[in-house]
Amino acid sequence: MKKINLQKVIIFIFLIMVTSVFLFPLLITFFASFKSNMEILTRGAQVIPERFNYENYIKAWNIANFRRYTLNSLYVTALTIAGILVVSTMSGYAFARGKFLGKKIIFSLFIATMFLSWGPIMIYPQIQVARFLSINNSLSGYVILRVFTVNMTMIFLAKSYIDSIPKSIDEAAFMDGCSFFRIYWNIILPLVKPILATICLLTFGETWNDYLLPLVFTMSKPELKTLTVAVVGLKTSGQVASSWNLMLSGSMMSIVPMVILYFSMSKYFISGLTKGAIKE
């Protein structure tokens, strides 16, 4: 018994060390958000601020109109997540289990889009397409763009995970009279909860922090801005030099929803016992 405890203790210490290294810059960020702008730039080395400027947070909240923009961000993110969850897992399942004409070709095309990213240049043609479809002026246009662009990462994750689910489950359901789609909807989906959680988290991260595209889509209607666009805007709310203090406090506040989401999702990461279903 003693041997096992020692191992656990060592592991625990290791984890504490690693986590501290990770925590360190975060703590610096947190404390820095209370500093005055000048202090941030000149006394970066001192972790604890001279004075706790709580008004950084109040100013950031007001200037960046946090309430409205947070709602915008939540709305956009929720829709995007819902859309991507459905579309990606559907595609992942179809590739993993389905047989249809051109499957290999389409899959290769999808994979190609994964690494064929030209980065910022793609913005212009994307705007043009959005304009052509008349959706370039609202956040829903952004949602459409995101949901219907091939999110190969998610599809790939979904497909690989589904690949590892024994086909016998499918066959059992098929015997019971389920159609292809129903197998997906009723059987597979509940089994891939960890992937759903992962896709949820990934999409949340990508969408919540997305700056350029939401900026473009909300240019003509600033009241529809997302939170990240507003927070970055905080940087330029200063007079000539940037207002780092406001941007830091704004960023701290905008992380909160993500952390909440993560905490609530974490039980899906440890589902563990799902494979027992086959014995039933």
Partner: protein, 452 residues
């Protein structure tokens, strides 16, 4: 099958629901025309926001116009470029690039396309500056303000190390000497000069090529020859190399951006630094200087002395966006006139936000009493230089080339050679392709104005 239909329907319906949600936030302005004004001016933000509100409450209400004043940051060019691409360009804005670039991009339109009742012609000074505010015969913008460059120094620190605070550096050699004294005597806590290299091109222009005029009468373009010649930058770069050797530069210069440099100067850790007239606002409001700040002319090389009037950088201020729908034109023009009105310009001057180009403004207004403004706005020894062509260079731009010389990759002479070669090649190509007329830029009998 039914389930698939259901799902597909929902997936396609989501955006429709979204359109409703997004749409419900529309429908603000009823019978008011909203004029979008985009600016990158942050230093006069408080003043302008107040004025815009006043306008909207009074004149705006009468005429049915509402100004939507938006302030942007460093990536302003990209933002308005993307905006115009996506059909969302502003009605009035500042142009952050050369006029030829703006016209070629298709983001601005000439003032003459509006029925301006001779308003442009009646300005009390010359607004028709070729290739700055006018392009191919059309006036696109009215110049309002000018920027001057100076050197600021820490009087307290000078005194502390035994230098005379009333004797600021006048030559590059002075800078090197003083910097060494300051650094040596401050035990690693304070340094002679802060050079924010991370500012990149900004540094090598605002603190570089724009400042060498006092000694050479020109920047990197030889007007008489009609060719690029970066030799005025040579003594300046050699000074930097020496400062680096002496270790009197603020540490981490490569990663030092202008904000941090200015903050450190305000804190008192820096002896000398280059500054532009917009820094008056920075050193008064944003990073209030904790020290006694001295201001002097930007030093020149010993060998040339203060021969000529140094540069006064002036650009057009407000420009008309290219995408203004006909119904809006009248309203936009009203706002444009308002932005350029003497009232607004005078207010900005009196608040020490800008140095006006219009001589009548300064005459009729109250000189502002803000620390440092007088020195920056004294333009007796400053003059607007003729325009320099902007070309598309292959490979490194001159800021990178000269930076590499500082880093020791090659000599300063070689940097000058390389820069000349690259820029003149680009110039030739532009001329051959017909993108540029050399006659617009070449002034065969150019004589720089002597200093007073």
């Amino acid at each position: 099958m039914k389930k698939i239909m259901c799902i597909t329907l929902i997936v396609f319906l989501l955006p429709v629901l979204g359109i409703f949600a997004g749409g419900s936030q529309e429908g603000q302005s009823d019978d008011k025309t909203v004029v979008n004004v985009w600016t990158r001016n942050r230093h006069d933000k408080d003043l302008m926001v107040r004025q815009v509100e006043k306008f909207n409450q009074n004149e705006g209400k009468e005429k049915g116009i509402e100004i939507d004043y938006q302030i942007y940051g460093d990536d302003f060019i990209d933002i308005y470029t993307i905006a115009f691409e996506s059909g969302n360009g502003p009605d009035i804005m500042n142009l952050e690039e050369s006029i030829s670039a703006g016209v070629n991009k298709g983001v601005i339109q000439p003032l003459t396309s509006f029925d301006n009742e001779g308003w442009v012609e009646n300005f009390p000074f010359d607004v028709d500056i070729n290739n700055v505010t006018a392009y191919q015969g059309e006036v696109y913008s009215i110049p309002q303000f000018a920027f001057t460059m100076r050197m600021v120094y820490n009087k307290d620190l000078f005194e502390a190390v035994g230098l005379d605070p009333e004797k600021p550096p006048r030559t590059y050699e002075d800078i090197v000497e003083y910097a060494k004294v300051i650094t040596d005597k401050s035990g690693g806590k304070k340094f002679g000069v802060a050079l924010p290299f991370k500012w990149g091109e900004g540094f090598w222009t605002w603190a570089g090529t724009y400042t060498v005029g006092g000694g050479f009468g020109r920047r990197e373009f030889d007007y008489a020859e009609g060719k690029f010649d970066f030799s005025p930058l040579k003594p300046y770069t050699e000074m930097i190399v020496q400062l680096k050797k002496d270790k009197s530069l603020f540490p981490g210069a490569e990663g030092l951006d202008n904000d941090t440099a200015r903050a450190q100067f305000a804190e008192g850790n820096v002896g000398m630094m280059f500054a532009v007239s917009w820094d008056v606002a920075v050193f008064n409001d944003q990073f209030p200087v904790k020290i006694d700040m001295g201001i002097t002319e930007v030093p020149v090389p010993e060998e040339t002395g203060f021969k000529y009037k140094s540069e006064l950088v002036s650009q057009g201020e407000w420009w008309l966006g290219s995408d203004i729908p006909d119904e809006k034109k009248k309203a936009v023009w009203e706002v444009y006139k308002w932005l350029n009105s003497d009232g607004i310009v005078t207010m900005k001057y009196e608040a020490a936000k800008n140095i006006p180009v219009n001589p009548t403004i300064a005459k009729n207004a109250k000189a502002p009493d803000v620390m440092g403004f007088a020195e920056f706005s004294d333009v007796t020894n400053n003059k607007v230089y003729p325009v320099v062509p902007s070309v598309r260079v292959e490979g490194d731009t001159f800021d990178v080339i000269f930076y590499n010389a500082v880093a020791g990759e090659y000599s300063v002479d070689e940097a000058v050679e390389r820069a000349n070669k690259a820029y003149n090649a680009a110039l030739e190509q532009a001329i051959n392709e017909g993108a540029l007329e050399i006659s617009d830029y070449r002034i065969q009998d150019y004589k720089p104005t002597l200093a007073e």
